[in-house]
Symmetry: C2
Amino acid sequence: MSRHTPLLQQLIDALRILPGVGPKSAQRMAFSLLERNREAGLQLGAALTAAMNKIGHCQQCRTFCETELCHICTDPKRALDGIICVVGSAADQLAIEQTAQFKGRYFVLQGYLSPLDGIGPQDLGLDILGKTLAEGQVTELILATNPTVEGDATAFYIAELCHKRQVKVSRIAQGIPIGGELEFIDGTTLSHAFSGRKVF
Amino acid sequence: MSRHTPLLQQLIDALRILPGVGPKSAQRMAFSLLERNREAGLQLGAALTAAMNKIGHCQQCRTFCETELCHICTDPKRALDGIICVVGSAADQLAIEQTAQFKGRYFVLQGYLSPLDGIGPQDLGLDILGKTLAEGQVTELILATNPTVEGDATAFYIAELCHKRQVKVSRIAQGIPIGGELEFIDGTTLSHAFSGRKVF
Ligand SMILES: [Zn+2]
Ligand SMILES: [Zn+2]
């Protein structure tokens, strides 16, 4: 078996799209499923197909969602203080939720402004966020974007939207290591960054 | 999003059956596909379904195969010297093929004898191997099983089959680190182990 059969090679190639999976571990994954766990392999196949086809975005906050609105946007308690936290991704939102400190709502950008990659304000749903700000219910917008070049550019853009609407805008404190990625930071650091937020 | 939506949770759980994938990296994989690469996620789903349903075993050597016989068993050049190499898994077979030193055929056990797990000779296809030995074409059987307790027990069992049929049986040299797993050993060590094989 100096070469793989077509379906096996196809499976190994397909597994390599998963982050952190190289050729050796893709091969190991394929053999493991074929040898020991074909039923689970079929379940994974079905779960991938269902998730890719059926998971959409919340109409209000843009997080991953299978219904029109997510469970946070439909929870009236989360709207009480009128605070919205803007994050770059659903993974970042999850990291903040796990601190159990923030009780408001979110806006999930699902990316950052990047003119070179053709990602503009519309692609991040910033028109939707602009409309939400115009409605006058938001008392404060907290920027929890990544402390990277693109995260900063996006933060400045959103701060401008807030200034236009006279909405208070703050940014989580730079307890976050510069150049780091929010989703990998521990909960304590994130909690401190929240309470230490400053007017932006 | 303190909890995931049902389809997302199902996908994260399903990804965890892959070897080496914990809860954090399963979540990262799911978000990565949903955010950036749904098309590739669908392709992976289809590749898994096809592979799990359609990849079978070679009727002669039991390696993974989508046809009746694999490309090694159908190659008359690989039968010239009448040598069969017995390995524990398709991954081990691949590691040996990559040394390009062995020119004979294989028998792929797809596991080892393990009475406690209910894995007996029939489950490893040793009846098929017994029939092949009975046909009188095999000049030598090389044992390239893992140097572990179960690998050794299986090697002894197969050596008995060979002794009954007066087929020469050898074992690759113990250049292999004891307790190690064959599929992770470098090609040079494996080549040396082949040329240093001893009558068993
Ligand atoms: Zn929402
Ligand atoms: Zn074969």
